[in-house]
């Protein structure tokens, strides 16, 4: 069993007990424990179930590479799934639950999958759920969805807060091990602005566990001394619990700092996302140990040798009393020695190499540890944890020579440099044959904006695996970085000293001659249950690319992203393909290094400040008068103003009726208002609009259409000629910024010699639409200017004063009623709006919202950008040919509208639609049925609904739509199937439903 040892544990404070729960069971650990060490100390070896076969899973690693021990951490809204126990620091009250099992961790029904594993090979999903077709939707998918995913997602809003900071550095050092600390000290002494990111809570990495000396000092003493120097440097920033998450273009980096995960503190931000610009980045990220692929290597109790050693030395925790070490390198012996020193039993070290004569194996022998070379583990005994192993020949097929009883296995397959950050921005790797590892290729480094290398790698991350090599390599790397930054190095390289290590012997399958039965028990990816046999099957089925094999088998696709399994997996693939490892290559390393919280990514941008809100000067009035708002771009516009318990539909009905019968007031301030001015402004607008704007007389308004260069209608609005060289272009609310950018694009990039200036004045003016038969009376009551039919005719505009406020009055109508749009300075918008309501009280002046606006425009057959248009509609489709100049040689979109598809007579055309049942409203977007089916067996269509409303004015449902040959099919009835299975019949009619002669607006 795993337990807490009587002594040892550098990280823990035995005087401070910490209480926590696992699956509701109350357990205790010590201050300084990780959740992993505390669970092991409580003999909780079994911590989860694997994804596919629901096999029992125990802790296998001691760091971020852990694939197995994922738990749901916290409760309620704070519950977070898939948290690695190895990187979770223990705190009082921590609550963790295991995942992916039912009904319990110990007894799991899904484990039945394990017994049919033979029928769940690689690519199982791709092969199995094809036929019969209906089964996918009704049987397979629901079942797969039920069993997919590891932990459950939290359901409530995250109550914690998060923050983000920006940082700039000459050098970011990733990793605070001995290599990183040395590099930081050298760079700091050279005066550089240095930021050091260490993902754990401790400096020094794993060197203190592995031992040795630097410059004659024990490693920990050297770390303490170096830290003291660094802390005295003002130009050096040190952050622990801060993981580099990714490196992006031109030295941009993301750091992920866990501020209070280890000690929850209400009111404090939980995580901090660092957004960093670094001139240079030095990865001192160390290496991750690889497992060995022997049959039964996934049983709880089989752990990485380095991790086992960490638990003993750092936390005083043993995984078992009797631990067999299996290795292909000298480093594995360190674990045997550490266990022995802790008073534990190491029945044997099984070394796959033919001989082991290095300093570490000799030290093990000198301690009386039995060392067997050329040996392999060929069997692991036990159910939910290891009870023993079978020893065989590494060169053999798996015959058991001897059985050894044990309760833990320490495996070491060598170390893989953490090359992730080098690879994030395109740095290439080279296969180091002697050490059997990929390391960064200095000749193909990632580059910055200037095309020169902006990253370096030092220490174990660069393949320098012994302490002496680590320090030399770190020094070389920082020297190169300083050279790039124009600085020189004065200090000598520190001398690291540790026992020499003999070369490892690559072992990808153990034993070498294992048959298919044994290979189907050799796990590569523990979390996703990918075995040696799966990768070999993929190769047999023709998957040659490592990227394809990854997706087919799901190797390395789990939350650990293959930190343990990738190299072993691609080595197996390379062997199956008969291709050398460097030729097979690695899959792509992508950020983040380990998962980071969505909260940190969102930062403060949530709730009310998720995005900026634009408010008109009258916004507060709308709120005070019960407006129901709808978002239009970043604006909030009143949709309607429900009064005294009205439904929205009732409010819209009231607003439309009041406007049509007397007087309605609309806050139209959000409409885009762009001034275009200059000697060439008329010429420019003639290019921008489909109709002629240069001929518009001063004092007049004209409705205009704007198309993109590929002919599609993008915006519309009324243009007013202000003076000889000035036009004011109104745009849609959502289109103002886009249209202004569109204008600037053409002016700056195509017609840059034209003398035109544009300015977006949208927020400079508040605008009020005064609409209805009593509109003129209201203006007269406000007083200050002549608004008679003679002085201000339809489509005229005039400057003047209304109610003492400077005003520009446009006599335009989007409702078909007598209508004025009045623009006043934004600062006086509310005052004017309130004056309109006060003076209009006699006429029952009614504020109306966007829905009433929509209904009234539809009653008149006016199009709405975004309803009748969707980016595939041209003005000709909408019966707007009258707004397209035939005289102009060119305008944006003209050439495109001459293309064959644009002139096709079968393009759907705008019509009105009246349901035969006047109380039945057509659904927006409904399609009109046509006879026959298309190539996919789907019913043909001959039109669709673009707008649909209940018209209070007409007392019936009305709609607009685009229909094949529509304008020539007046009176025909079309059928529109609805999603609830009914079919609505509607007659094709003229799209102008109300006041076809246009008499009401022209009074």
């Amino acid at each position: 069993m795993s337990t807490r040892l009587a002594r040892g544990g550098r990280r823990i404070d035995r005087s401070k007990r910490v209480e926590f729960t696992f699956n509701g069971k109350r357990l205790t650990g010590y201050q300084g424990d990780t959740l992993a060490s505390a669970l092991l100390a409580n003999d909780q070896m079994l911590v989860g179930r694997s994804f596919k076969y629901h096999r029992p899973r125990g802790v296998v690693a001691s760091g971020p590479e852990e694939p197995n021990a994922l738990v749901a951490l916290g409760d309620g809204a704070r519950m977070e799934p898939n948290q690695r126990v190895t990187t979770t620091e223990l705190f009082d009250g921590l609550s963790a639950r295991s995942q992916n099992h039912w009904p319990s961790l110990e007894f799991d029904i899904g484990g039945l999958n394990n017994h049919v594993a033979r029928f769940l090979p690689a690519g199982f999903y791709y092969k199995t759920f094809i036929h019969p077709r209906p089964f996918w939707k009704h049987v397979f998918e629901p079942v797969i969805r039920q069993s997919a995913g590891l932990g459950p997602a939290p359901k409530d809003r995250d109550p914690d807060t998060y923050e983000q900071v920006y940082a700039f550095a000459d050098l970011v050092v990733i990793g605070g091990g001995v290599a990183g600390l040395h590099a930081a000290r050298v760079a700091g002494a050279a005066g550089l602005r240095v930021l050091v990111l260490e993902q754990t809570a401790h400096w020094g990495g794993r060197s203190p566990v592995d031992g040795g000396t630097i410059d004659g000092q024990p490693v920990q003493d050297w770390i303490d001394a170096t830290l003291q120097v660094l802390e005295g440097m003002e130009n050096v920033t040190l952050r622990t619990r801060c993981m580099a998450a990714g490196i992006y273009d031109h030295g941009y980096m993301i750091g992920y700092e866990r501020l209070t995960d280890h000690a929850p503190a209400p009111g404090m931000p939980r995580h901090r996302l660092w957004k960093i610009r670094a001139a240079q980045v030095l990865s001192a990220t160390g290496a991750i140990e690889r497992g060995l692929s022997f049959p039964g290597n996934d049983l709880p109790g089989v752990m990485l040798a380095g991790a086992l050693r960490d638990y003993v030395v750092e936390y005083g925790v043993s995984a078992g009393d009797r631990t067999v070490v299996v290795t292909n390198n000298d480093d594995g012996y360190r674990t045997a020695l550490a266990l022995k020193e802790a008073g534990l039993v190491v029945p044997a070290v099984l070394d796959a190499r033919p001989e082991a004569t290095g300093a570490l194996p000799e030290a093990a022998r000198a301690q009386g540890i039995r060392v067997e070379t050329g040996r392999a583990i060929v069997k692991v005994m036990g159910g939910k944890r290891v009870t023993g192993i079978g020893v065989g020949l590494q060169a053999g097929e798996g015959s058991i020579l001897e059985e050894i009883a044990c309760d833990a296995v320490a495996m070491s397959g060598g170390w893989s440099p953490v090359v992730h950050f080098w690879s994030h921005t395109g740095g290439k790797l080279v296969w180091d044959e002697a050490q059997a590892l990929f390391r960064p290729d200095p000749a193909r480094a990632p580059v910055g904006a200037d095309g020169l290398p902006n990253q370096a790698v030092g220490g174990a991350a660069n393949g320098a695996l012994t302490l002496g090599a680590v320090m030399t390599d770190s020094h070389n790397a920082i020297s190169e970085v300083l050279r790039r930054l124009g600085k020189s190095v004065s200090d000598p390289a520190p001398a690291g000293d540790a026992p020499a290590e003999a070369p490892l012997h690559p072992v990808w399958v153990m034993p070498q001659g294992a048959g298919s039965k044994l290979k189907s028990k050799m796990w590569l990816d523990y979390q996703n249950d990918v075995k040696v046999s799966d990768v070999q099957l993929a190769a047999r089925e023709g998957y040659e690319s490592v990227e394809h094999t990854k997706r087919y088998t799901t190797l390395g696709m789990a939350t650990d992203q293959g930190k343990l399994s990738n190299i072993n997996g691609l080595a197996v693939l390379s062997d199956a393909l008969g291709a050398p490892i460097p030729q097979v290559g690695t899959t792509t390393f992508r950020p983040p290094f380990t998962p980071i919280s969505m909260g940190a990514i969102a930062g403060e941008a949530r709730g009310d400040i998720f995005q900026p809100l634009r408010r008109t000067p009258m916004h507060a009035w709308h709120e005070a008068h019960g407006a129901y708002f709808e978002p239009v771009g970043h604006w909030r516009r009143p949709y309607c103003y429900p009064q005294g318990g009205e439904s929205h539909a009732q409010a819209v009905h009231r607003e439309v009726t009041a406007t049509r019968t007397s007087l309605g007031l609309l806050d139209a301030s959000t409409l885009g208002k762009i001034v275009v001015k200059g000697p060439d402004a008329g010429r420019f607008l003639d290019m921008l609009y489909t109709n002629m704007m240069s001929t518009l007389p001063v004092g007049r308004c004209r409705y205009g259409l704007m198309c993109s260069e590929n002919g599609f209608l993008m915006d519309d609005g009324v243009v007013a000629r202000i003076d000889e060289d000035t036009w004011l272009c109104h745009t849609t609310t959502g289109g103002a910024d886009r249209v202004h950018a569109h204008m600037e694009d053409w002016l700056q990039c195509e017609w840059w010699d034209w003398k035109v200036y544009t300015a977006n004045l949208t927020e400079h003016y508040a605008q009020v639409a005064i609409v209805g038969p009593n509109a003129r009376k209201l203006l007269e009551k406000l007083g200050g200017m002549d608004v008679s039919k003679e002085a201000l005719g339809f489509m005229d505009w005039a400057d003047g004063t209304l109610a003492g406020i400077p005003a520009r009055v446009f006599r335009i109508s989007f409702s078909g009623e007598l209508s004025y749009e009045v623009a006043v300075p934004a600062s006086r918008g509310l005052e004017f709006w309130e004056a309109c309501h006060a003076a209009g009280a006699d006429f029952g002046a009614t504020a109306y919202g966007t829905e009433a606006l929509h209904v009234m425009r539809a009653e008149k057959g006016f199009i709405m950008i975004g309803d009748e248009t969707d980016g595939t509609v041209i003005p000709q489709d909408l019966g707007l040919g009258w707004a397209i100049s035939k005289k102009k040689a060119d305008y944006l979109g003209k050439r495109a509208q001459e293309r064959v598809h644009m002139t096709d007579p079968t393009r759907w055309q705008l019509v009105g639609l009246e349901t035969l049942d006047p109380n039945e409203r057509l659904p927006d977007g409904a399609y009109a049925k046509a006879s026959g089916t298309n190539a996919n067996g789907q019913g043909n269509t001959q039109g669709r609904v673009t707008s649909s409303y209940m018209s209070p004015t007409l007392g019936r449902a009305i709609a607009m739509g685009l229909v094949l040959n529509g304008p020539s099919r007046m009176g025909e009835v079309l059928e529109f199937p609805t999603v609830d299975g009914r079919v609505l019949s509607a007659r094709i009619v003229d799209p102008v439903f109300y006041d076809k002669a246009g008499e009401k607006q022209n009074v």
Partner: protein
Amino acid sequence: MLILTCPYCGLAADETELSPGGEAHLKRFGPGSSDDEFTGYLFHRGNPRSVHFERWRHANGCGKWFLAARCTVTLEVFGTYPAQTTEPPAAILDAIRAKRPDWEGRA
């Protein structure tokens, strides 16, 4: 996230300040052009695995459009220049050729 120097205001701007505008130096074809010319102008874009000339607007800055020569593989920037030109300036071309002797020129 790229950094490009706006040639108008001289700022080294983060990509969040910029908006992209696709390939630079397109020749506009309007009415009277052939279908091939027009579709070529409107739709056919270079996608070189090397130096690309592209349009950027300092949208959250001075508002000006400018052009950039950037390697699509390494993201190396050879220079930025005002949009009011139909051809890349000689200095930019020289900078590219100095670093990429085998560059085949603009596609």
